[in-house]
C-alpha cells in the first residue's frame, strides 16, 4: 500500500522539485539581468540566432498556416454563404493564436533545443567551470543574453509571421477561391482590432521567455556526458512546447 503511494507520488515530487529548481534558476537570471557588464554583443549574437536565423522557418510555417486556414474556413463558411468572413477568420486566428504559438513552437524546435544542447555541452566539457574560473558568471554570460534576445525577437518574428500568414490567406482566398478582394479586406478591417495584434505580440514575448528559460535551464543542469546532452535537448523541447501551449490558454483567458 505504502509502496503504491510512493510509486504514484514520485513523479509528483519530481515535478515539484523541477519546478522549484526552475524558479531558483529564474531568480538568478533576474538577479544577473541588472548587473554589469551588460553583454550587448552576446545579446546581439543571440538575437541573430533566435531571430533572423529562424526567419525562413517562421515565414514558411506562417504562410502555409494562413493558406490552410483560408481553405478550411472557406469550406465551412460556404455552407451558409459566409465566404466573406474567411479573411477576418484567418486574420483573427493568426494574430491572436496561431501566429504567436506556431512561431514559438518553431523557435523552440530550432533555437530552444540548440540552447539546451550548446549550454549542456559546455556543462559536460567543463566550459561552464572554466567561465567560473575566469570570474565570469555563466548565467549572466550564457543565459541572460539568450533569454533577453528571445523575449525581444519573438514578437518581431511573430508580427512577420502574422503578416505573411494573412497574405497567404489572402492568396488562397482571393486568388484561388475567388472571394472578392474588397470584401475580404473590409471584413478584416471591421473585425480585427489593434489590441488583437498587440496582445498576440505580448503573448509571443512571454513564449520567448518560456522557451529560452527552459532551454537554458535544461542545458545548464545537464549531467551525464554526450548522452545527457541529448536527453536535455529532447526534454527542453518537450517541456517548453507543453508549457507554451498551457500558458497560452491562461494568457488568452486573461487577455481576451
Amino acid at each position: 500500500m505504502l509502496r503504491l503511494f510512493e510509486f504514484a507520488g514520485r513523479p509528483f515530487i519530481y515535478l515539484l522539485e523541477e519546478f522549484g529548481r526552475i524558479l531558483l534558476f529564474l531568480l538568478s537570471i533576474a538577479a544577473w539581468l541588472f548587473r554589469k557588464p551588460f553583454r550587448l554583443k552576446e545579446i546581439l549574437k543571440q538575437m541573430e540566432f533566435v531571430g533572423t536565423n529562424s526567419l525562413v522557418v517562421v515565414l514558411i510555417t506562417g504562410t502555409f498556416t494562413g493558406m490552410v486556414l483560408a481553405i478550411q474556413s472557406y469550406y465551412g463558411f460556404r455552407k451558409f454563404g459566409g465566404e466573406s468572413l474567411v479573411g477576418a477568420t484567418v486574420a483573427l486566428a493568426i494574430t491572436r493564436e496561431l501566429g504567436p504559438v506556431f512561431t514559438a513552437l518553431m523557435v523552440t524546435g530550432r533555437a530552444g533545443s540548440a540552447m539546451a544542447a550548446a549550454i549542456g555541452t559546455m556543462r559536460v566539457t567543463e566550459q561552464i567551470d572554466a567561465l567560473y574560473t575566469m570570474s565570469v558568471n555563466p548565467v549572466q554570460y550564457l543565459v541572460v543574453p539568450r533569454v533577453v534576445a528571445s523575449i525581444i525577437m519573438l514578437p518581431f518574428l511573430t508580427i512577420v509571421s502574422d503578416f505573411i500568414g494573412i497574405a497567404g490567406g489572402y492568396f488562397v482566398g482571393v486568388k484561388l477561391l475567388d472571394i472578392n478582394s474588397g470584401i475580404f479586406m473590409a471584413r478584416i478591417y471591421d473585425l480585427l482590432v489593434v489590441d488583437d495584434i498587440i496582445n498576440g505580440l505580448i503573448k509571443s514575448a512571454v513564449f520567448g521567455f518560456i522557451l529560452s528559460l527552459i532551454g537554458c535551464y535544461k542545458g545548464f543542469y545537464t549531467t551525464g556526458g554526450a548522452e545527457g546532452v541529448g536527453k536535455a535537448t529532447t526534454q527542453a523541447v518537450v517541456m517548453a512546447s507543453v508549457t507554451i501551449l498551457v500558458s497560452d490558454y491562461f494568457l488568452t483567458a486573461v487577455m481576451f
Binding site: 555541452t121 559546455m122 567543463e126 566550459q127 567551470d129 567560473y132 575566469m134 570570474s135 558568471n137
Partner: protein
C-alpha cells in the same frame, strides 16, 4: 599562499577527499601526483572554489573561500589562472577569441593590444597561425596548449595546471615544462601542477605532494620524496605494479 585545512569531500557516498591538510608555498611550483581517479582534479577545483568541500577550510591569502559569496569569490578568482584537464576551450569561439576572452573580460585593453598578447602567448606554447581555427579543428595536444595560453593570458598570481603535458609528444612536453618554469621565474607566480609524468615532476617541482586514498601521504622537496621510506610512494615513483593492488 594557499592552505587547505581538514578538507573532506564525497560524491554520492564515495569518499574522494578525506581530511586533506595541505599548504602550498607561494612563489613555488608544487606538483601533485597520485593515482588516476584519486581525486587530484577534485582537489584542484576546491582551490579555485569550483567545488565546495563537505567540511574544512580553504584559505587563499588569509581569506576562507568556502564562506564567500559569488561576488567576493569572483574577486579571489581573479588571482587565478586554470588549465583544465580537457582544456575546456569555448567551442563557440576560435582559438584567438578563447585566449583573448579573459583579457576582454578583465582588462580595458584595446583590440590591437589584446591581439598582440594573444599572439605572444600562443607563440609561447608553440602555436602559430591557429588564431582563426575553431577548437574542434585542433588535435588534443593543441587544444591543451591553447588552454595553457588562455590560463596564462592574464599573468595570474596563482596558476593551476591539470596535467599540462599529458597527450603531448616528448619534445612538446619538455617545452611546456620549460614554459611553466620560465613563467614562474618571470612572474613569481604560485604554480600547482598535477602530473603523471614522474621525470618531469622531479625536473620542475620545488615541492612534490602525493595524494593517496583521499589523503596527502607524502610532501617534500623532490630529493626528500625520492628518498622516502613510504612504500606506496616508492612504488608510485618507481612505476611498479604491485600484484595485490590490481
Amino acid at each position: 599562499m594557499i592552505e587547505l585545512k581538514k578538507i573532506k569531500k564525497s560524491f554520492n557516498g564515495q569518499k574522494v577527499l578525506d581530511d586533506i591538510d595541505l599548504t602550498i608555498e607561494p612563489g613555488k611550483i608544487t606538483v601533485i601526483i597520485g593515482q588516476s581517479g584519486g581525486g587530484k582534479s577534485v582537489l584542484l577545483k576546491h582551490m579555485i572554489g569550483l567545488i565546495r568541500p563537505d567540511s574544512g577550510k580553504i584559505m587563499i591569502d588569509g581569506v576562507d573561500t568556502t564562506t564567500l559569496g559569488e561576488k567576493e569569490l569572483n574577486e579571489v578568482r581573479k588571482k587565478f589562472g586554470m588549465l583544465f584537464q580537457d582544456a575546456a576551450l569555448f567551442d563557440s569561439m576560435n582559438v584567438g577569441d578563447n585566449v583573448a576572452f579573459p583579457l576582454k573580460e578583465h582588462t580595458k585593453l584595446k583590440g590591437r593590444e589584446i591581439k598582440a598578447i594573444v599572439e605572444k602567448k600562443l607563440l609561447q606554447v608553440g602555436l602559430k597561425d591557429v588564431t582563426h581555427k575553431m577548437p574542434s579543428e585542433l588535435s588534443g595536444g593543441m587544444r591543451k596548449r591553447v588552454g595553457l595560453a588562455r590560463a596564462l593570458a592574464l599573468d595570474p598570481k596563482i596558476i593551476l595546471f591539470d596535467e599540462p603535458t599529458t597527450g603531448l609528444d616528448p619534445i612538446m612536453c619538455d617545452a611546456v615544462d620549460k614554459l611553466i618554469v620560465k613563467t614562474q621565474q618571470e612572474t613569481g607566480a604560485t604554480c600547482i601542477v598535477i602530473s603523471h609524468d614522474i621525470d618531469s615532476t622531479f625536473r620542475i617541482a620545488h615541492t612534490v605532494a602525493m595524494l593517496y586514498h583521499g589523503k596527502i601521504i607524502e610532501k617534500g622537496t623532490p630529493e626528500e620524496v625520492k628518498a622516502t621510506g613510504n612504500p606506496v610512494v616508492r612504488q608510485f615513483i618507481e612505476r611498479k605494479v604491485e600484484d595485490n593492488n590490481f
